[in-house]
């Protein structure tokens, strides 16, 4: 049994109550959602909050709904809910792809999208997914709500724009016609964090050319999307040569570290390889869904 340092615990009854509690208990208080990042760190005594504010009763933040051209995901939505949603699979297969390889069922049953994005672990998968999907984070604090692009929300490893007295409330993902997406990860074992991963989203126009594209990488030291690929791909009809070029750019754009998961050149190679794979899959899926619609 690994034992955290002493702490106090309180259950929040509503979003406002949680915000009030954060305000009252100050800098050394933390909210706990699924607890699958925070509790392990506490057990290793790497995190030592004085107060733990449990937000698991905030069922009002556990939802998935399609609102016009937006998929709205409540911050307390569990990984499992995302994994099992048909709407998500249809609209954003990148989320389903990613969820399939995030941890294991036990972690997925508790872990939340809010916790994942706020934890901002460099090997965390949903941050990449949200960058690629150009999602918007809805953050609420004492001064009201803020809407942040992922670029503004996600500041770097373990760092987001969410202040100590704020909560991430919702993630909004724009739905685009003619688009699809994919995610692929290399892990040493099922349930392990990524050695490297890549995600891509593409939109094909009626002629089958790429009208929009985003590529993101996980665990290789690149927090934002690989913006270099846009210039190369937009306006082009997808081909292996283009994917190869995109892969090359991705491997140049990343900045991995050597660790037990692998050396730098391997991770750069994966950035390349996986970028090609996810672009290929996303284009194939986008083309397939386009042909379905025309039928």
């Amino acid at each position: 049994m690994q034992i955290p340092a002493p702490f106090d615990y309180v259950r929040a009854s509503s979003v406002d109550n949680a915000l009030a509690l954060l305000d009252r208990h100050g800098a050394e208080s933390r909210v706990v959602a699924g607890g699958h990042s925070l509790l392990p760190m506490m057990k290793l005594r790497l995190a030592r909050p004085d107060w733990l504010i449990d937000i698991n009763d905030l069922f009002e933040l556990d939802y998935l709904l399609i609102d016009g051209q937006t998929l709205r995901i409540g911050a307390m939505t569990r990984h499992t809910t995302l994994l099992e949603s048909d709407d998500v699979q249809r609209l954003f297969p990148i989320i389903t792809d990613a969820e399939r390889v995030i941890a294991d069922p036990i972690v997925r049953n508790r872990g939340t999208i809010g916790g994942s994005l706020c934890q901002a672990d460099p090997a965390e998968d949903l941050s990449t997914v949200c960058h690629v999907l150009e999602a918007v984070a809805v953050v609420r604090g004492p001064a009201g709500e803020r809407m942040l692009s992922m670029a503004d929300f996600h500041r770097g490893p373990y760092e987001t724009a969410v202040a100590q007295n704020e909560l991430l409330i919702e993630v909004r993902v724009p739905i685009r016609a003619g688009s699809s997406s994919a995610y692929e990860k290399v892990e040493r074992r099922v349930g392990d964090w990524a050695v490297a991963a890549a995600g891509a989203s593409v939109t094909l126009d009626s002629a089958g050319a790429i009208s929009q594209v985003a590529v993101g990488l996980t665990a290789v030291g690149l927090e934002q999307n690989v913006t270099e690929v846009e210039a190369v791909l937009v306006g082009q009809t997808p081909t292996e040569e283009l994917f190869t070029e995109a892969g090359r750019l991705a491997s140049l754009a990343c900045d991995p570290l050597a660790d037990q998961r692998g050396p730098i050149d391997y991770k750069r190679h994966l950035a390349d390889e996986l970028t090609r794979r996810v672009l290929r899959a996303a284009c194939r899926r986008a083309a397939a869904s386009a042909s379905e619609i025309t039928i």
Partner: protein
């Protein structure tokens, strides 16, 4: 899953699920485990029990400058803080290891590995004990560590064991087996010689239950009851008596349900001793249970062998000789557990399953600033390393000769008529018939078809590999004349009592950590005396309740205690004959045995069942001269030789050429463990061991950085396989009984762990053949496989 149907070993039993004797039956212990009613050390709660926690060293090598425990002692819930200085006063700062070395219980002079025990806190609850660790102030003077075993013997290497008189280096032992001159001569004249450095990296058994103890010292009558996660309760009792001065009859060691051992729970860890000291100091029971990181960082690891392998052969594939020099990293204390004569365990069975002209090995053990251990993880005393070496070398030779690895093996097997087979390093293999086992595995795999598929795939650039491993184990230690641990001979006792109503209790000296002793040993008795296994209680794990014996490890339970149990049952059966004769008013020699019953020769209608005889024994029948009024017996079994189980494993992998990711697609395991007592339990042991093997081959590795920091201290970093990494196991079997074992059984607990890693690695290397890869060391993680594909294989250490 493919399971070839077993020959019903007991057709008379009729009901396949409930054999009266050997056969497939569900485990008697499972109802309590599947209902969560197992009772482990951590489930033990005694009145007034206190809790201990260990402060561990944050660095690998450092002089201890000072410890200040004032603040910790001031914690309102803390009752005691014990340091090395306190233990020194009691003469307990150092304890003997199982390898004639000593190990610090708590640091007095110098920290020698990261995670080493520095102080012990006893508090009212576990939380307070843990919190108080942070209140102990320790000052260290950090020293340069020895991390790389290859540099341990350098002239300028820091001397780790300056506690030992006259130590000027980090050398522990040199050991050799076989004949060097003969071997060198064969090598000198051989057509083909291949050489390869092969590293078996440091891994950890990582049992589901970590180590722990509850010590209860009664200050009034001086009695110590020690509940421990131990695989060897009797040996521990004796050693505790020798070290602590508490007389042996006042010590009771209880090993309750154990959540996996794999050799991790053979040694005596400082935590056990500290729990005892804590109980003596406070006068209350003290529980200490380590957490996962403590288990991974400080308890017995496995392997860590750097092996220079050489194999000599004729051009047409007759293997002539093998030789190897091994550098063994034993960590900071030599605390390996193996028979005293054999500091490298049974590594010298590295000649494998092949008929060689000569063989020679040397093993050099060195100290490094790492956790002690080395013999663990179902290794059969280092047969894992031996099998890995020979099975990799044979594959490398096959590549060199451009021969199919199956064909090369078939060509070189020891022939059935050569058994008992004396190998070139001093073993006498009891029995074997290797070719049918190999052929069965090939048939089950569809070997030729797999090779065809591989050829097609290679043409398309796909990477598929087929790996073979044929292993011979040596288990069941061992004959007392050759084998002891700290002077305790490796024999096992067993006691059997038949109660008046014909129900029985068998008391055994070995202890189960998941092997199913409560079922298997009841079945052995049932087979011999015809009482159903359900009616036979198996008592184990409590030194007050069971006869002396050395414990469960090295796959020795069935070969040694299983033999003891069969013999004690036969003794009871023979005694029953005399009592039955008295009851039937006939002569014992006029009676004939059928399972469960003695009857009059020529008139089967007149006889007595075991239950009737038991009642008679305890009743009023006039008993013959020399037969006392019970149906009990006891024996101590000293095995005449070890047993030599073997098996043929075939692994099929697919490697993703873009990422280096290895997927084990199929695994065929044909085992020959002699007589099969409960095939279901055997399969369970095989499934577990194969999973271990896939884990070691693909992911498991305790790595250290240059400062000696352990990088494998949690399950985030030390990966063990899940159901997703393993295929549906395809198991089969052949039966070649051991000629010297009373029921012909050879033991199977470690076969799969021993035999499977080379099959997986051979498959990975085979898949990478198009890249010119001849060898790669474990673990075959995606990154390491990719590096191999780039022509940059590198040893893990």
């Amino acid at each position: 899953m493919t399971i070839l149907e077993d020959r019903p070993s007991n057709p008379a039993a009729g009901d396949h699920d409930r054999p009266i004797g050997h056969g497939r039956m569900q485990r008697k212990e499972d109802p309590r485990f599947v209902r969560g009613k197992g009772h482990y050390v951590d489930d033990i709660v005694l009145p007034g029990m206190l809790h201990g926690a260990i402060l561990r060293a944050p660095v690998a090598h450092a002089r201890l400058v000072s410890i200040d425990t004032t603040e910790a002692l001031a914690h309102p819930k803390v009752l005691a803080v014990i340091t090395g200085t306190d233990l020194q006063a009691l003469g307990l700062a150092w304890a003997p290891t199982l390898s004639m070395d000593v190990q610090a219980v708590l640091v007095t002079d110098k920290v020698r590995f990261q995670g080493q025990e520095v102080a012990f806190v006893v508090a009212e609850d576990r939380y307070a004990a843990r919190d108080a660790l942070e209140l102990i102030q320790v000052e260290y003077d950090v020293l340069p560590p020895v991390v790389d075993a290859r540099k341990a013997m350098d002239a300028d290497a820091p001397v780790i064991r300056d506690d030992l008189e006259g130590r000027t280096d980090n050398h522990i032992f040199d050991w050799e087996a076989g004949n060097k001159a003969e071997t060198d001569a064969v090598f000198a004249s051989a057509d083909v010689v291949v050489t390869q450095e092969i590293v078996y990296p440091r891994v950890h058994p990582a049992p589901m239950e970590t180590c722990g103890a509850v010590a209860d010292f009664d200050p009034i009558d001086g009695r110590l009851t020690l509940y421990e996660t131990t695989q060897a309760p009797h040996a521990h009792r004796t050693l505790f008596a020798m070290v602590s001065g508490i007389p042996e009859h006042k010590i009771r060691v209880v090993s309750p349900d154990i959540g996996g051992g794999f050799g991790n729970k053979v040694g005596i860890y400082p935590g056990y001793i500290l729990a005892v000291v804590g109980s003596i100091v406070t006068g209350k029971p003290v529980k200490w249970v380590e957490d996962r990181s403590e288990n991974l960082m400080s308890t017995s690891f496995a392997r860590d062998y750097i092996m220079q392998g050489e194999i000599a052969a004729t051009r047409d594939g007759k293997i002539l000789a093998l030789r190897t020099n091994v550098l063994a990293d034993h960590g900071a204390f030599n605390a390996t557990a193996q028979p005293t004569k054999y500091p490298a365990g049974f590594f010298h069975i590295f000649t494998g399953s092949y008929d060689l002209q000569a063989a020679h090995c040397t093993v050099t053990g060195v100290y490094t600033n790492k956790a002690p251990g080395g013999v663990a993880y179902a290794c059969s005393f280092r047969v894992t390393e031996a099998v890995y070496l020979v099975e990799r070398m044979v594959d490398i030779l096959a590549r060199k000769l451009e021969m199919d690895p199956a064909e090369l093996r078939l060509k070189n097997f020891i022939k059935p008529e050569q058994f008992p087979y004396p190998n070139k390093t001093g073993w006498e293999y009891d029995s074997g018939d290797y070719e049918p086992t190999m052929r069965l595995s090939m048939k089950m795999a569809g070997y030729d078809e797999l090779r065809r598929e591989q050829k097609e795939k290679r043409e398309r650039g796909e990477l598929m590999g087929i790996g073979i491993s044929f292993f011979t184990e040596t288990v069941g230690a061992g004959p007392r004349k050759d084998m002891d641990i700290l002077g305790l001979g490796m024999a096992d006792g067993a006691e059997l009592r038949i109660h008046p109503t014909g129900k029985a209790v068998v008391r055994i000296s070995v202890q189960s950590q998941g092997q199913g002793h409560e079922t298997t040993f009841a079945q052995i008795v049932a087979e011999e005396i015809g009482i159903p296994p359900e009616d036979i209680d198996v008592v184990h794990g409590d030194t007050d309740q069971t006869p002396f014996g050395l414990g469960t490890y090295g796959s020795r339970s069935t070969p040694v205690s299983g033999a003891a149990v069969a013999l004690v049952a036969r003794k009871v059966r023979e005694k029953a004959r005399f009592i039955a004769a008295a009851m039937l008013e006939t002569r014992p020699e006029d009676l004939e045995w059928e399972k469960g019953r003695w009857f009059v020769k020529g008139d089967p209608s007149i006889g007595k069942t075991m239950a009737e005889i038991a009642m008679g024994a305890h009743g009023t029948v006039a008993l013959p001269e020399g037969i006392d009024g019970n149906l009990d017996a006891e024996v101590t079994y000293d095995p005449p030789n070890l047993t030599f189980p073997f098996g043929a494993y075939i692994c099929v992998v697919d490697v993703d050429p873009g990422t280096g990711h290895v997927k084990v697609r199929r695994f065929i395991a044909v085992d020959d463990c002699g007589t099969r007592i409960n095939p279901m339990i055997i399969e369970g042991q095989i499934h577990g061991g194969l999973t271990d093997g896939v884990g070691m081959a693909l992911m498991e590795f305790i790595e250290f950085d240059a400062e000696g920091n352990c990088l494998g201290g949690s399950f985030m970093d030390y990966l063990i396989p899940t159901a997703m990494e393993v295929p549906d196991w395809e198991t089969g079997f052949t039966v070649t009984p051991s000629p010297h074992h009373p029921i012909g059984a050879k033991g199977v607990g470690e076969s799969a762990t021993v035999g499977s890693p080379p099959a997986v690695v051979n498959a990975v290397v085979d898949a990478l053949a198009p890249f010119g890869v001849v060898h790669m060391d474990m673990p075959c993680t995606p990154a390491r496989v990719w590096e191999a594909m780039q022509g940059r294989t590198r040893p893990p250490v």
